[in-house]
Point group: C2
Chain length 219, copies 2
DNA sequence: GTCTATATTTGGATAGAC
DNA sequence: GTCTATCCAAATATAGAC
């Protein structure tokens, strides 16, 4: 899966990079060394390091080990890459809302499930989610992504409101504020989580416990 | 205070902007229409809207209602503005750590105090703190700011570790993880908080309660 | 598919008149 | 203090050879 290449360990390879020219299947099918997906992984890693706006096509092509012109042979420009990356990330997040445990049960239990899954998706799709969370809204693509994000957050907020109405969430904090703090906590993980660290498997549950029960020791 | 001008309501005024040519004090002192502080407020608002890298000097001068050349008469370039903004933000945050209630008492109580104050500083210095939290590390100035931020976060993490050692913070979550979630929650507020909203005064305590006791209703 | 060369635009920054 | 004019570098993107 290309998520691997999009991580910190992007294949930074010089111009003389060795490679198998092509891979032939049983039917003689040819697979190009670079498809859009693999260039996307390289590009997203660069975007996350420098920021989307500060990353030039020159930076991207250098990171891929080819010239700018060659890079343009594969993609129409920066924005196509951005759109593909944001789409992947948003699709992953929205899919959670359709899962079984997200659609039935007590509001607070559905909320707990969604938070756990959101952390899992964030871990699995880290570079793509990271990029999504840094979008500012300068282009049409970015505004489209912001709109979908708002819609996702609104679904969470509605669930918090329901849970509060059912007395399952504390009543002394505005549910809208609680929802924003909850989403903010989960999203902030992209700023420090790196895959392969010890404790990565425990993170989703750690986050659920911390968010729902707080950091204080029980007395 | 210029924090006001740096908010969403920046003085977007056209070329024919009316203004008093100068203000004379009792001693006949002259005050320029634009000093560095007021241009900084305008610039930071632009940086936060479009992102620092996506904001050109042309954008900044247009927002200030003067030409690029005139803008350069006041400041040496984008980076000077960035540095001044980040400095202001970092100074505000670090000052918290020297306050009385941050230096004495039980670790958990110091922590609670710092979180509350951090939210208050974030509210008071919103545009500046927002900019700080979005810095990527492309220039020397940005790396300097990231370094100071890391140092601030490390102070919080150490306090969480102490509180955990004293049994005041839950033991089933790694204190380092808890500290990152705590900082992430507070920092995420810049993404949605806007001054002058109802409930702004209650926010610091709402955040403290939510972070320390969780979102669940007490049974 | 990849390259070199180049067209075109934008951005940072300065010179010098008023 | 502000302006117009301009320089230079960098960025997006394309043309066309191999």
């Amino acid at each position: 899966m290309s998520a691997d290449a999009a991580s910190g360990t992007a294949p930074r390879i010089g111009p003389a990079r060795p490679r198998s020219r092509r891979a032939r299947g049983a039917a003689g099918a040819r697979r190009p060394v670079y498809d859009v997906a693999s260039l996307l992984a390289v590009a997203v890693a660069e975007f996350n390091t420098r920021g989307y706006d500060a990353t030039s096509m020159e930076d991207l092509s250098r990171a891929a080990g080819i010239t700018k012109s060659s890079f343009y042979h594969h993609v129409s420009g920066k924005e196509e890459l951005l759109r593909a990356a944001l789409e992947r990330s948003l699709d992953g997040l929205f899919a959670i809302l359709d899962e079984r445990h997200a659609t039935s049960g007590r509001p607070v239990d559905r909320l707990r499930y969604i938070v756990r899954r959101q952390v899992e998706v964030l871990q699995a799709e880290l570079p793509y989610v990271t990029l999504l969370l840094r979008v500012r809204g300068n282009t049409e693509t970015e505004r489209w992504a912001l709109e979908r994000r708002r819609s996702f957050d609104a679904a969470i907020a509605e669930l918090v409101r329901e849970a509060a109405g059912a007395g399952q969430v504390r009543a002394d904090v505005d549910p809208a504020v609680a929802a924003k703090l909850l989403s903010g906590t989960v999203n902030s993980i992209v700023e420090w989580y790196r895959p392969g660290r010890p404790g990565a498997d425990a993170l989703p549950e750690d986050v659920v416990r911390t968010v729902f029960e707080g950091v204080l020791a029980r007395d």
